[in-house]
């Protein structure tokens, strides 16, 4: 019975890289750049990270079942233009319903009609982006003041984004690690057929995952729109792929079944620190993008070194 040492992190995908990378980055930046700890910079990093974290949590849910959702960025943009063009009382519900519909479409395509998730969500990414530009072709509009307050007010000295993050984390952590739904996602992601033989329905949870991911996009969209206090039809563009990068850095396996909320936090922080840190040191953003690509490849390879033999 003692032969098996209990795996510290089980199916979380957390390893030395996922934990060490953000820690090392943090250390380097705090030693190397005096501006890093300034209040303005921390606030800046925080607002960038908040939206990415919320989206990445949605992406995590989809990745656990072996899927991917690159349309989530377009959902952010759609949410933004809806919020900036409808009256305050209906804007948020309409945005959430639209997001749920996008997720429903993705889920139906993937889980029922068997379209590859990359193609399905690529198609809806293009469609939803076009739809957002139809509603509002350039940034502008007025955002309900309540949303601005929700995204910008500091409470007890802590920025609003902090509370958005904590709530999102708490909800997703309980969902994944404490509910039967969450356990079944891990099971489906590892081997859908075996899960089905164990009497677990496969279709409905898959569909739900895509809807939850789109909803995460909508919530990130609400936060970002409140934050910049205007609508922007291309606001979400980088988030689709950045969220995938963030979860991959956090040890989530895109083949399904392995990942954790903590990993997503670490991956998101890593990605946020890369762009912010490079910015502070004065490195060209293009160079920092190139470096991010290399880092992603390196980190993922090292996490899977048993599989690739290094």
């Amino acid at each position: 019975m003692t032969r098996h040492k209990k795996r510290l992190f089980g199916r979380s995908g957390l390893g030395v890289i996922a934990i060490g990378l953000p820690a090392a980055m943090f250390l380097l930046l705090s030693l190397g750049t005096p501006d890093f700890f300034s209040a303005r910079n921390i606030a800046n990093v925080n607002s960038q990270i908040t939206a990415l974290l919320i989206v990445a949590l949605g992406q995590l849910i989809v990745a656990l079942i072996g899927g991917i959702d690159i349309s989530v960025g377009s959902v952010i943009s759609l949410t933004s233009v809806v919020l900036a063009s409808l009256s305050a009382s209906v804007a948020v519900p309409v945005a959430l319903i639209l997001a749920a519909l996008v997720g429903l479409g993705n889920g139906l395509g993937v889980a029922v009609f068997g379209v590859h998730p990359l193609i399905m969500t690529l198609a809806s990414m293009i469609f939803v982006q076009g739809f957002a530009l139809l509603i509002m072709s350039a940034a502008g509009g007025t955002v309900p003041p309540l949303l601005i307050a929700l995204a910008k007010t500091n409470i007890a000295g802590l920025p609003a984004g902090f509370f958005w993050c904590v709530s999102a984390l708490a909800i997703v952590a309980v969902l994944l690690h404490k509910t039967a739904f969450g356990l079944r996602l891990f099971a489906i992601g590892a081997n859908a057929q075996s899960a089905a033989l164990s009497g677990v329905g496969v279709r409905a949870p898959r569909l739900a995952c895509y809807m939850l991911c789109s909803l995460a996009g909508a919530i990130a969209g609400v936060y970002l729109t409140g934050r910049i206090a205007s609508g922007d039809p291309t606001m979400g563009e980088p988030f689709g792929l950045n969220s995938v990068t963030a979860i991959a850095l956090g040890g989530v396996q895109l083949s399904g079944g392995v990942g954790s909320v903590i990993g997503v936090v670490l991956g998101t922080i890593t990605l946020g620190l890369i762009s912010n840190g490079m910015n502070l040191v004065g490195v060209s953003p293009f160079f920092s993008a190139a470096l991010t690509g290399l880092l992603l490849l390196g980190a993922v390879s090292l996490q899977r070194r048993k599989a690739i033999g290094i």
Binding site: M1, H4, K6, R7, G10, R11, V174, K178, T179, A180, L183, R184, F186, A187, G189, A190, N191, Q193, S194, A195, A196, L197, S198, G199, V200, G201, G257, V258
Partner: protein, 517 residues
């Protein structure tokens, strides 16, 4: 006897399940036809028969994995129809599948309770789940921690956990599908104890197996299936081993098979295998296939004949020993464990699963065959395809198609198999390794495929086959090597062999083999 074949078993209170006239087809193949029998509370009921007799199909109907074309399943006297595994589960039927269904990223406890997690306030009650899982493991006598991730367990331990699934399920009927295939001695003992306990609790246990020892030791009742038909359901104590064997076999050979040649005069081998271990833990085997000869590796599923053939083909890396190929002049080429290398050395593999491993379904007949002509061509060379040769081959093999450009996916199973053979004929290999030569092939095409293989041998080629159909070995092969638990236990001349003898060796292994040779 009456207790086992009453007129209306469903009216009997002890009858838990009754099959009535069950028929199940897969495409053109009838897996089960008109099967009727009943199972009773508090009994262990063996389902046995040859490979492909329909044992697993029948149990998958009961487990809700398949639905029957016609006939009905009566559960406690009422006809039921399950919408999938979930429905069968809910009706109190649990299955321990032959293949591992454990999820490697879940703990033992999570695997055991997946789909029926204990809840508290809507959330999973992790502690209750662990405690209940640990209790089940202890009860079955499995020394494992319920908190261990299943991916960290060795295969034998995983199979034990799989069996524990049968103990967790709060089911009236528990199906064990070839449960001992991967268990060691102590594992089998644990299973035997668990089954005895479940029997005492008044459950009905279906035990699918072709291991005679276990059937006679564990089972009260035995149902024998043959070719998808019900042969008999009897108390096991009324049966002897010999009865079992002779009830499982017995089939007409028909006129499907081409005439054998007299034994080849030249005794030069085309392929020889010595001290060859296809898989770790199996005994080493040695044999040779001569030019002009068709040799069959016969045995029950899971006894390693398939692995031997695949290791020779280079599809799986052998654990030890040597395989050598001899060309017509006697030059020796050692075979390395790589398919490309064995194909270049002159071995052609015709895999069991044509769709997945053999043919390019969306490509044409010509393209599929032409691939063989390019066997030794360097990658950067121009592909020179001899269209006349392809047309000639199609004619010789009697491939029924519009023309050479027809897509392979649109051909019947028999014609697809001919294309597969055609590829190797075009490539000029002189040894064919054929898995299940006529799986999914209609009767007419069967005869033609046998003829093609025989002609290949007559022209100096050598053929090694595996087949789950005994008649195929008897009708087609010059020599039959019987495999039991990975060892060659008997060598029979094809013309003298009969199903019963092969089956006896395949089921009982060594002792009987010694008596024959």
């Amino acid at each position: 006897m009456t207790a086992f074949a009453p007129n209306d078993p469903a009216a009997d209170a002890a009858c838990v399940i009754a099959f009535r006239d069950i028929t199940k087809r897969f495409g053109a193949i009838t897996a089960l036809s008109g099967v009727s029998f009943a199972g009773y509370r508090g009994t262990v009921h063996a389902i046995t028969g040859e490979n492909g007799a329909g044992k697993s199909t029948l149990m998958k109907l009961l487990a809700g994995v398949f639905t029957p074309e016609s006939g009905e399943i009566l559960l406690g006297g009422k006809a039921v129809r399950f919408g999938g595994a979930l429905g069968a589960r809910a009706a109190g039927i649990a299955t321990v599948f032959q293949e591992l269904t454990l999820l490697p990223n879940l703990t033992v406890a999570e695997n055991l309770f997946l789909g029926r997690e204990p809840r508290r306030f809507g959330l999973i009650d992790g502690r209750a789940m662990r405690e209940r899982a640990q209790a089940v493991l202890d009860r079955v006598g499995i020394a494992l921690d319920a908190d261990v991730i299943c991916g960290d367990l060795v295969i034998a331990e995983q199979h034990l956990v799989e069996i524990a699934k049968g103990a967790v399920a709060d089911a009236d009927i528990v199906i064990y599908d070839e449960p001992t295939a991967a268990l060691d001695g102590p594992g089998v003992e644990k299973l035997a104890r668990l089954i005895a306990q479940q029997k005492q609790d008044g459950k009905l246990i279906f035990y699918i197996s072709h291991r005679l020892d276990e059937i006679f030791r564990l089972c009260d009742t035995t149902t024998i299936l043959k070719d998808g038909k019900h042969v008999t359901t009897r108390p096991t104590r009324e049966l002897t081993r010999d009865d079992l064997v002779s009830l499982m076999v017995g089939r007409e050979l028909g006129h499907l098979f081409p005439r054998r040649n007299p034994r080849p005069r030249r005794q030069d081998p085309a392929l020889s295998v010595s001290d060859f271990t296809a898989e770790r833990g199996r005994p080493p085997v040695s044999f040779a296939v001569l030019r002009g000869e068709i040799v069959g590796l016969a045995g029950l599923e899971g006894h390693g004949q398939r692995e031997i053939l695949r290791a020779v083909a280079g599809l799986i890396a052998a654990d030890g020993g040597r395989a050598q190929k001899y060309d017509a002049s006697g030059k020796v080429t050692p075979l390395s464990p790589a398919v490309v290398a064995t194909a270049r050395a002159g071995l052609g593999l015709i895999p069991e699963d044509r769709k997945l491993e053999g043919l390019y379904q969306p490509l044409s007949i010509a393209q599929n065959i032409a691939l063989g002509m390019l066997r030794r061509a360097p990658m950067a060379s121009r592909a020179r395809i001899d269209q006349d040769r392809i047309r000639a081959l199609m004619g010789e093999m009697n491939i029924r198609a519009r023309d050479a450009s027809q897509i392979v996916a649109s051909l019947s199973g028999g014609n697809q198999q001919k294309v597969m053979i055609g590829r190797w004929l075009a490539s000029g290999v002189d040894v064919l390794l054929v898995e299940e030569p006529t799986r999914g092939v209609d009767v007419g095409a069967k005869a033609e495929i046998y003829r093609l293989l025989r002609e290949f041998a007559d022209h100096g080629g050598a053929v090694l086959i595996t087949s789950s159909e005994l008649t195929e070995h008897i009708g087609l092969c010059d020599r039959i090597l019987v495999v039991h638990d990975g060892a060659l236990v008997a060598e029979l001349a094809g013309e003298d062999a009969d199903e019963e003898t092969i089956m006896r060796h395949a089921l009982m292994g060594r002792p009987a083999a010694a008596a024959v040779s």
